[in-house]
């Protein structure tokens, strides 16, 4: 049975990857599951310089979901390249997708240029959709022109294929996806989190220090499946689907919708074995439906 998929010339042995920001720099989960089983490890967003992130509380639970406002805390590209990336050498069979964040186009460019020289970075995922930082982030991702502009700049400097990570907080996701494609993106990934808020009614203030946060988890899956379905039908580049995947059945919704690969985020917090179960569950489903190639899933 062939589970392997090709994203922009890079072959993943299976279509399952971690969602950025939920899997640290790849090794934190290693005691609890085998990162080497994944098609790709997607690392936490990394920026040109270390970022402090937001004040706490940074997370809140919501019905079948959660809000986070981590604010892209990260040790900066130097530490990431010198320490975290080499750590991933041991999963030789698993591709590495580095998630990149920035406040300005120059920030992104710096990080992309730096990662272009790193053999262990197979693909770059550009986060233009984080709702939790004041500058940059989502600001780039909510307007087709700026999606196009930033994509174009990065595509020009990047020696690695780039995946533009799209925000669901838009009127028309296909417009953003087309802008990314036109700008030269090799793939798009979606969805990042939906902007949400929870109010602590006893303390009479927003529960998150940052006031708003990003909603993730099974709660948002129907929105994610819809956007992936639409995007697959709007662009020719591969679409990586995510948002609320907690089981093989959930992942299959995205693959049937036409996603080339899927990422699992919030569900890892509930059960670190989720991604392993997703991989084996996809296999079993394909077996049961007499499919010998994962590409046959697509409707």
């Amino acid at each position: 049975m062939n589970l392997s998929v090709n994203i922009a010339g890079v072959t993943l042995k299976n279509p399952v990857m971690s969602a950025s920001g939920t899997f640290g720099s790849g090794h934190e989960f290693a005691d609890w599951m085998d990162p080497g089983k994944l098609g790709a490890i997607v690392t936490k967003g990394v920026s040109a310089v270390p970022w402090e992130g937001n004040a706490t509380p940074r997370v809140a639970e919501t019905p079948s979901g959660m809000l986070n406002a981590i604010g892209l805390q990260n040790p900066g590209i130097d530490v990431f390249v010198n320490r975290d990336l080499p750590e991933l050498e041991k999963y030789a069979d698993t591709k590495v997708i580095v998630n990149v964040c920035g406040k300005t186009a120059e920030d992104y460019i710096r990080v992309v240029e730096r990662l272009s020289e790193e053999p262990r970075a197979d693909l770059l995922e550009i986060n233009i959709s984080c709702p939790n930082v004041k500058e940059g982030g989502i600001a780039f991702g909510q307007n087709a022109d700026s999606v196009y502009e930033i994509t174009k700049k990065l595509a020009e400097v990047s020696k690695k294929p780039i995946i533009m990570k799209l925000s669901p907080n838009v009127t028309d996701i296909t417009e953003m996806a087309r802008a990314a494609e036109a700008g030269g993106a090799d793939a798009v990934s979606l969805i990042n989190t939906l902007t949400g808020m929870k109010i602590d009614i006893e303390r009479r203030r927003p529960l998150l220090a940052n006031m708003t946060g990003g909603l993730s988890g099974p709660a948002i899956r129907p929105v994610a499946v819809r956007m992936v379905w639409q995007t697959v039908r709007a662009v020719k580049i591969p679409v990586i689907g995510m948002g609320g995947i907690a089981s093989a059945e959930d992942a299959l919704e995205f693959l049937l919708a036409g996603a080339s690969a899927v990422a699992v985020g919030t569900a890892n917090f509930n059960d670190p074995l989720t991604m392993e179960k997703v991989i084996s569950g996809i296999e079993k489903y394909m077996e049961r439906h007499g499919m010998d190639d994962v590409s046959m899933l697509r409707l």
């Binding site: 920001g21 939920t22 899997f23 640290g24 934190e28 989960f29 290693a30 005691d31 609890w32 599951m33 085998d34 080497g36 936490k44 270390p50 970022w51 402090e52 992130g53 706490t56 509380p57 940074r58 997370v59 809140a60 639970e61 019905p63 079948s64 979901g65 959660m66 986070n68 981590i70 805390q73 040790p75 900066g76 530490v79 988890g217 099974p218 919030t266 569900a267 890892n268 917090f269 509930n270 059960d271 670190p272 074995l273």
Partner: protein
């Protein structure tokens, strides 16, 4: 890969309400129990699928021989409400032990173990496991719990906010009223208490080791939800923050900003 750690399906041996709103839960989870140390915690998962995030609960005691773990927790929100309904023979999904516990060979010879409110449970396991001179100081709003058991492991001083038992006031009042001293303080409880103890320790030249709390999502260092501010740049995170779930929950008070 070998030697991987796994979530454990724990069996409820027994559960009782110790005092109103505070549950005493005994579970059987041999693998987790075997590895547990005082100050570490477990992630407890809800059965209800609408609640995804783990509830971090400190290990109150373990019996390595029977594989039992004791958890004492306050029923606050929906998750702990769900746990409080568990009866003998039912199961609960747990992950742990997590985090770094208290130093058991701390390099000093006497310690004041200070607890406040729902910070008290892990200190029982600590008091049991720490073989140096111990004085125990526990602060409660009013009704006491775990006090009889704690008293078996050292002199116990109690403070209650309403004065119904021991010193009227907080743990600092109890320490001062009783003129207690020690080389160091180990503590768990609300932030204001920890802050007061940190100051007290600085003033009296005592080392202060504290257990922190923060909202968590992964419990294993991957999501960066649970950070606290650290006085120095953390070697791993490369900024002035530390993860309560991984570098903590136990910290030298000098390491963190309260």
């Amino acid at each position: 890969m070998e030697n991987k750690r796994k979530q454990e399906k724990a069996w409820v041996i027994n559960q009782t309400e110790m005092i109103p709103g505070i549950m005493d839960l005994l579970i059987k989870a041999p693998k987790t129990a075997a590895a547990a140390a005082p100050g570490q915690f477990l992630s407890l998962y809800c059965g209800d699928k609408s609640r995804l995030l783990p509830r971090p609960i400190s290990i109150c005691d373990t019996d390595k021989f029977t594989g039992a773990i004791r958890l004492v927790y306050r029923v606050g929100g929906a998750g702990t409400e769900e746990f409080s309904k568990l009866g003998p023979g039912e199961t609960i999904r747990i992950q742990g032990p997590l985090g770094n516990g208290f130093p058991l060979d701390p390099g000093f010879s006497s310690v004041m173990i200070v607890g406040g409110g729902i910070g008290i449970p892990p200190l029982l396991y600590l008091a049991k496991s720490l073989h140096i001179k111990k004085t125990l100081v526990m602060g409660y709003p009013s009704v006491t719990y775990l006090d009889e058991e704690l008293a078996q492991h050292g002199n116990l001083y109690i403070a209650t906010e309403d004065g119904s038992r021991g010193t009227k006031g907080n743990v600092i009042n109890a320490i001062e009223e009783n003129g207690l001293t020690a080389d160091a303080i180990m503590a768990c409880g609300p932030i204001p208490m920890l802050r007061a103890l940190k100051q007290y320790g600085e003033a009296h030249n005592m080392r202060v080791i504290i257990s922190m709390e923060e909202r968590m999502a992964c419990g294993i260092g991957a999501c960066l939800a649970c950070v606290c501010k650290s006085t120095e740049k953390d070697a791993y995170l490369n900024i002035n923050k530390k993860r309560v779930c991984l570098e903590g929950p136990v910290f030298d008070a000098r390491e963190v900003e309260l």
